[in-house]
Amino acid sequence: MSNAVATACPACGAPVEPADDFCEACGTRLTAGEQQAPASHAAGSCSGCGAPPEAIGSDGYCSLCGLRQPSPRDHHEIDLGVTAGVTDRGLRHHRNEDALFLKVAGDGTIVAVVCDGVSTSIDPDVASQAASDAAGDFLMAAVENQADHLIDVTRQAIDTAQDAVAQVPWTPTDDMAAPATTFVSAVCQRGTIALGWVGDSRAYWLGSTSAQRLTADDSWAEGQVDAGTMTEAEADADPRAHSITRWLGADAPTGEWQVTTFTPDGPGRLLLCSDGLWNYAPTAAQLAELLAGQPDDASLLAITRFFTDFALAGGGHDNITVVMVDFVIPDRQGGS
């Protein structure tokens, strides 16, 4: 980055003095040097031009430069010790359309849901939030009521999420589709994982002795690989790769939901994520290698933050959501 001192304001072009910290014409903060690094503004001041908190309107727009201020949903973390999750807007989207649900029930069962709103639909951020809240609440209630067949419960949870998204109010326009989102959920109970998914949000098992992808995308690319017409690398490189073939929403194709159970044979971590992460490390082997580089005593929160930063460093082209769950296999009775 050049260290040349600016002589004209980068925002409005007005002439500025070398010693100026702020442009006198438009109030933009002037930094001599790295323009990428956000200036450290006083808390509450505009993240764009540094205007004081009083200048921020009640609807979140700065009344001087017009920039929409960051929202809490832009970066959100949940840390429950045995499980942790991070969701982040990324570097290129104007809002976070991913949603995250993560809770631990009274009996220690973990319920996790990750949803990724479809950008070409209306109000995708509302869709993903509605789906994850509806399914998450349903799963938690089922677990608290000691429900047995977690696969059936997972199917019902996806039904509930589908209803919730289909009911998101929207006004038809020529160009945009009805609110839509992907979905992936995991219920981790007594050493077994019940998974359900729609679209291309994924679950991986990163065990101490093995690593594998647990979900198969509802996507064009996956269809090609399944049919044997392309390798995974070829399909991923095609521009059509990310067209999803199933989603939740008013105009979604119908059919049976994809569900499965997985019982790990040793300790390890479950990872759920949206494509904002796996686009940068699609295979289980790549994710496992990244994980292996983390210190042994790293907390799950630290590891999920690490994966998020990895995606941001790769370019952060999409919203990023990562959830991890620790699996310690219960001791078998009678010793080794």
Binding site: T28, G48, L64, L67, R92, P172, D174, H317
Partner: protein
């Protein structure tokens, strides 16, 4: 009480480095409930039931220059039309009648003031109008100047005038007319009508645009009474005066234009009143229950991909109170599927504005003898009118050109065009077709 709503229609997504934001803003007013029946007296309970009555002032200005005698039917029609107009004025509304030559003559009531309408005063006025004789010149500025003075005697009323002329503004210079228009700016609205074909469209359009009014041709004098009635009835429906469209834009942004695009095209950019560094007010005159569309174009300093910026904030200023709000947004994205779509409302009105422009340019070229340009421009007009479903304009164009293929805009200029048809196309070129929205 009149309440306003404002709604934005736009594609907010811009490509990396994109700076131009276009939006259509629909402003709707309702709840005007202007009361008072024509013919009822002020004390009439029915007349004041409901919303409080609105103070209004109405002046009818008619041309009595010598040409109004050729034929005599013209003057008689103007007298009849004035009577019809007076009959539409609500009881209690202040009114007066000005007859114009190279001077302005207040023929009713006694010069210097207006009177409230009642059965008695309306009849007295009609009597005065019946005595009119036509002779002399035409000085529209003088007539407007007198109307301005009379309106000043009723400062709290909504001021509206209807002006009729049949010829060129020959008894004063254009500079004199412009001076009067500047003095009248913002004090009253005036709808202008030209009868016959000897008046100049661009002249009357200048007056109407300056005074936030409409302009139209009455080709056949017999149509005058009905037209005057319609104009006055519309004026009587206005309940709130001096409504301004307020536009805030952020630092580093420039307003490229603000235009009314429905029901007619009016360029408002030149009328902007500065409120502060970032805010300007655009006068829109008096409102009844109605809806108008505006096209706003703002050039902003591009943000980074992922930024969301408020490019404009629209609100309505009514009686000093700010009402309603519509947001014009800019969101930078690298998703070309999002940024390359053109919002259909913006596309529609951009087309309608181009339609008005090519009609006016085509007619000018035709008058100047430049048949090549005229054919190209009017051909483009035919194409646009067909594409945007503007049937009224298609019919008017068909009187001036022979249409071979509306899809490609292939036309031939007609050899013989009636002046009235050419002037009708010219005056109505700014009438737009409303974009249709799905009924939710």
């Amino acid at each position: 009480m009149t309440t306003f709503t404002a709604e934005t229609y736009q594609n907010e997504y811009l490509p990396e480095g994109g700076a131009e934001v276009n939006a259509v803003v629909t402003v709707a007013a309702s709840g005007s409930a202007v009361n008072g029946r024509v013919g009822g007296s002020i004390g009439d309970v029915d007349a004041v039931r409901g919303a409080s009555s609105v103070e209004a002032a109405e002046i009818v200005i008619i041309d009595i220059s010598g040409s109004m005698n050729y034929p005599p039917a013209k003057l008689r029609a103007a007298q009849e039309a004035t009577g019809a107009a007076l009959d539409c004025i609500r009881d209690g509304v202040w009114f007066g009648v000005i007859a114009g030559t190279k001077l302005a003559h207040q023929i009713y009531p006694e010069p210097g003031a207006l009177v409230p309408a009642s059965t008695q005063t309306r009849n007295d006025a009609k009597f005065a109008v019946a005595q009119l004789q036509a002779q002399g010149g035409t000085a529209i500025g003088a007539w407007l100047g007198l109307a301005n003075e009379l309106f000043a005697t009723q400062p709290n009323a909504i001021h509206h005038a209807i002006l009729l002329t049949d010829g060129k503004d020959e008894s004063e210079t254009p500079a004199e007319l412009m001076e009067v228009l500047a003095a009248c700016d913002g004090t009253f609205q005036c709808d202008c009508r030209g009868v016959g074909t000897d008046w100049v469209v661009s002249e009357l359009r200048t007056v109407a645009s300056a005074l936030l009014g409409t302009v139209d041709i009455i080709a056949n004098p017999a149509d005058m009474p009905a037209d005057f009635q319609a104009v006055i009835e519309k004026a009587m429906g206005k309940a709130v005066n001096d409504v301004a469209l307020r536009l805030w834009t952020p630092q580093g942004a420039k307003v490229q234009f603000v235009k009314q695009v429905a029901p007619t095209i009016e360029e408002l950019s030149g009328k902007r009143i500065v409120v502060n560094d970032l805010t300007g007010d655009y006068p829109t005159g008096a409102w009844g229950d109605e809806s108008r569309d505006y096209h706003v174009c703002i050039k902003v300093t591009p943000g980074k991909v992922g930024d969301e910026m408020l490019a404009g904030r629209i609100s309505l200023v009514v009686d000093g109170q700010v009402q309603s709000q519509a947001l014009i947004k800019a969101i930078w994205t690298d998703d070309t599927q999002l940024s390359t779509q053109m919002n259909r409302e913006v596309a529609h009105y951009t087309g309608q504005a181009e339609l008005a422009q090519v009609i006016q340019e085509g007619l000018e070229a035709r008058k100047a003898g430049d048949e090549g340009t005229a054919t190209v421009k009017l051909g483009r007009a035919v194409q646009l009118a067909a594409q945007t479903g503007n049937d009224a304009t298609t019919k008017l164009l068909a009187k001036v050109v022979d249409v071979e293929d509306p899809a490609t805009g292939t036309v031939r200029l007609k050899r013989q065009v009636e002046d009235a048809d050419e002037m009708a196309l010219d005056t109505r070129s700014t009438k737009t077709v409303r974009v249709n929205r799905p009924v939710s």
